[in-house]
Amino acid sequence: MTTLAPTHPATKPARKNREVDTRPLLWPSIAVLFLWMIVPLAMTLYFSVIRYNLLSPDLTGFVGLENYAFLFDDPALWTSLWNTLVLVGSVLIITVVFGTLFAVLYNQEFPGRGVARLLVIAPFFVMPTVSALVWKNMMMHPVYGLIAWLQSLLGIQPTDWFSNYPMLAVIIIIAWQWVPFAFLILLTAIQSLDTEQKEAARIDGAGPLAMFFYITLPHLSRAISVVIMIETIFLLTIFAEIYVTTAGGPGTATTNLAWLIYSVGLLQFDVGYASAGGIIAVVLANIVAIFLVRTVSRNLQQA
């Protein structure tokens, strides 16, 4: 059903006019989330205009916008914004494409389908730290990794993933974890596709490709919007995978905004500077939220 449409005249006419006080139901959630947002935000805002380094407690005082000035002066900021965009964008594309293909594939009847599905969704249950460690040490390691071994069997020079293709490597790991999530949701959606509708299309002489593009894909479009929205929320703040594999490097090749803030806040303990970064991230998050939710919800209403 429509997700963010304010009213629903068709299904709930009687409810609309009834006088009900829903405040006690709704307010606890709003109150705790508001506190959760506003208290740290206020503190962060305050820290962002003072000099506050955990390691040098004797340096204090109001500095105005100096932290922000330093931040905007830092070339790493722009790189990190771009990297965030690349990371989120490519993982979204990969997960939606593969999620859709997998959903179509595993919706077919074949022996052992239940078990095969379990195997495909498994990566979603694995802790991000663990999956990053496994990929880094056992799959992509240029000396002991399985990929390197396969390459050497074929007589190819083993790829040094985290030095030469750091961003690609990180994207692969994150996509591996999130494809199953997209798959789960899209499979749910595809199962609700009317078999009669499919039969009718087949009788009309539609081939499998035409079926996919004219029947399945439009049917999935709302589910795809949902996948994009949920994943974006999580991908914007991706951290553990970068922490374990590349630590934002080499150079700033895999530094996203979350990592940049981490590196100034918790590797350099410059709380003032990190707070300025945090504020930038909040502003950005809200822009994305508005933009994204607007587009997604429009898409949801159309379908």
């Binding site: 709704l26 705790v32 074949f110 789960l184 918790l266």
Partner: protein
């Protein structure tokens, strides 16, 4: 191509992909039964005498039971708490929508988009003053808050799909919203609530930033357990694999057992 031939190819393709996707987890599980030198040998050793030494060592070095208990308490506790907050809220927004409902939902989701690193120090200081550092309660509160927006949203979309007529028909005259919620809606929406809860449990179980920074021993869940086995001196892959397997096995089993549930409940309102 005949139908059975096509089916054979389909089966092969589907299984090949499934095995490839699952392979890293399988390989990790396999490695946990190897010795350290076998774990890094090239070419990889496929035939070896399995050993339980890694597990013995992992058990000897850390209090696994405490970590698991903390993980269970934190992820299930925070999920129940989030549901307690979210079910009424989602009900109110789904059945008594106002002009502001979309903005409230949007705002709730936006609280999730800020990188947690940005607010760690403020939260750390707050937790210190409230004596919540390194406690299960502290993590429980954090996880409840970070999962609440998603839980509200999932439930909202699920509730919207519940046909109003059913509630209408079953409604006792003069029922208060609370009664309607508990007597009519919740029994109807069990599958949606259950899959929402499952997703929240999975996300909490795997959360690694807050747990590593706010808890170290008494309140630390399995993510901290993993951090004590990653990249130490010497050979560590077999031990790390054993520890990883122990950390993901519970949630993997829960997830697999409830896969059917997840597939039918994770609709996010997108299915009709």
């Amino acid at each position: 191509m005949s139908d059975s031939r096509q089916k054979l190819w389909l089966t092969i393709l589907a299984w090949t992909i499934a095995l490839l996707v699952f392979f890293p987890i399988f390989w990790m599980a396999l490695t946990s039964f190897k010795t350290e030198t076998e774990a890094i040998s090239t070419p990889p050793s496929l035939f070896f005498v399995p050993t339980l030494d890694n597990f013995t060592e992992v058990f000897a070095r850390s209090n696994y039971a405490r970590f698991v208990w903390n993980s269970i308490a934190v992820s299930f506790g925070s999920t129940l708490l989030a549901l307690a907050f979210a079910v009424p809220a989602a009900y109110a927004m789904a059945f008594f929508p106002t002009k502001r409902t979309p903005s409230i939902l949007l705002w709730m989701l936006s609280t999730k988009m800020m990188p947690p690193v940005g607010v760690l120090i403020p939260i750390y200081l707050l937790f210190k003053n409230l004596s919540l550092l390194d406690t299960v309660t502290g993590l429980l509160i954090i996880y409840t808050l970070i999962n609440l927006p998603i839980v509200v949203w999932m439930l909202y979309t699920y509730f919207k799909d519940v046909p109003g007529e059913i509630l209408e028909a079953g409604r006792v005259d003069g029922a208060k919203p609370m009664q309607e919620l508990f007597l009519l809606l919740i029994p109807l929406a069990v599958p949606g609530i259950a899959s929402t809860g499952l997703l929240s449990v999975i996300l909490s179980w795997n959360e690694a930033f807050w747990s590593l920074n706010l808890a170290s021993s008494n309140g630390a869940p399995l993510t901290a357990f993993i951090a004590s086995f990653s990249s130490p001196q010497g050979l560590f892959w077999a031990k790390l694999s054993a520890a990883s397997l122990m950390a993901i096995a519970p949630i993997l089993i829960v997830g697999w057992m409830s896969q059917r549930q997840l597939v039918s409940g994770l609709t996010f309102g997108a299915v009709k």
